[in-house]
């Protein structure tokens, strides 16, 4: 296998990336095409070697029963890998990339498709800014997509 994530290897790498992303984001339905695009974006940045490391580790633990816990300990828990974990989540949630960890406010977006497909907005019961939230007046009510786990009044 080549040093970088070549297109030839992309097939299974993509599936690993998607499986990992589901665990990291906590969102089940992640689009494969988006995953391909985010993988592409990551592999052309300094995150690439860290991502490769993460995917290698993930591949080894994929069949483990306690997969989520192992991801937490051995990938998230690793200081050198955590920024990349964060970047993966940030991409899925908002389509934004942090090029420089020292300037967290400075972000870079990809395509409009990616921006409007961000899954993080639903997590907070909202929508990607710029996309219609729904019918006139819907902001008067609690959101439809308010997560179940939230306890009333908490």
């Amino acid at each position: 296998m080549s040093e970088t994530l070549s297109t030839a290897a992309l097939g299974s790498v993509l599936q690993d990336f998607l499986a990992l992303s589901r665990i990291l984001t906590g969102v089940e339905n992640l689009e494969e095409e988006l995953g391909r695009q985010y993988l592409d974006r990551l592999t052309s940045t300094p995150y690439e070697p860290f991502l490769r490391q993460i995917l290698e580790r993930f591949q080894k633990m994929r069949d483990d029963e306690t997969l989520a816990d192992r991801v937490k300990q051995q990938i998230l828990g690793e200081d050198t890998l955590r920024p990349t974990v964060c970047q993966v989540i940030l991409l899925w949630y908002t389509s934004a990339m942090q090029d420089n960890l020292d300037t967290p406010g400075v972000l870079r977006y990809g395509t409009q498709e990616e921006y409007f497909s961000g899954v993080g907005w639903a997590v907070i019961g909202a929508h990607a800014p710029g996309l219609s939230g729904g019918y006139f007046g819907h902001w008067r009510y609690r959101p439809d997509n308010e997560p179940l786990e939230a306890v009333d009044g908490a």
Partner: protein
Amino acid sequence: MKPSRTVDTRTDLLKLLCEAAELEHGIACSYLYAAFSLKRDMAEGGMTWEEQQKVRRWAAQIYFVASQEMLHLALVWNLTTAIGGTPYYFRPNFPQNSKYYPIKVPIELEPFGPRSLRRFILYEHPQNIAQESALKSLLRSAVEDGEEIEFGSVGELYGLIESGFRSIDEKELFIGSPTQQMTKDLVHFPGLLPVLDRTSAIQAIHEITEQGEGTAKDREDSHYGAFVAILKELLDSRERGSGFSPARPAMQNPSARLERGYGADANPIGEPLAQQVAGLFDSVYSLMLRMLAWSFEFDSVGVEEQLKKFCSVTIDLMPRVLLPLGEGLMLMPAGEKYPGKTAGPGFGLTRHVMLPPSAENARQLCRERIKELAALAADLVQRSVPEPVKGACRHLGEIARNF
């Protein structure tokens, strides 16, 4: 346009108002069904990001028009109680026989598309439209079946109603109690006018027709204008690109269960979980209707605050429970009999318990019923239903707890 006959008795006028109530109600359901069917996310397929912007805007506009139809129903109810009648909330189940109303265009539950938009335009079209031939050609380009387009609109019905209010003696006619009238202070319908006399009755009727068909000077802000614009945009988008598919493949005229009251031509949902969700929809919808109609009949003198609270629960059920249930149903499979199709709400009005006149007892019955439905919802939430359905069930639970 002069009305086709005279309306000079209360009975006649009340019957026409019942017909108007049925129509506004049925049309609102038809609009809601189309709005529910519009996709929200690109992940659903068939939309670029630019198309998604358009589709979301169309959905918002159709919801808006539906909300005005509900306002029209509310105004019709005020007109009804003002002359001594009772708010009428019944309507035939879907699909409705096209000969049932003079409007000649059947009211159906059908997903968004050129066919449904064509129907919507015909429901709302103005009585004397200068560009009739232009309209006909737009409508023809909307469908390929070469079906002959016959007019006969809701506007004519209101023309008759207005003539009734004008010709029958005012003092004899307005026998309803003014404190029965609902206003926007009591129930959240911005634009709701109380009907107390001939002048306010005619004002209410004009509000309905102006919102629906517009005026000669201003068509584009009417429902008619909005649908024409959307249809044009849709046909334009289709011409430009292939693969644009704005609507979920929802079935037509679904029914939650094949029971008395559902039309024989309705399509029963085959998939059990979807059927259950559709059943919950019907139950909440039916309860909400009863509560609303009851509020409009109730004489609120001295108990306005309680009525306000009761109404706010009722109104809340629409955006927080019915809307997400309806949208969610269109993400669920319809059943083996309907390959490639998703389910949908049937808006089934079947046998139900009517609410008693006593406020205390009505509240008690509603409270109990909402709690029963919330318990059903709490069970559904555990199953593999789409997110909007879960949200609806959660909201129903919260409403039940706070009632």
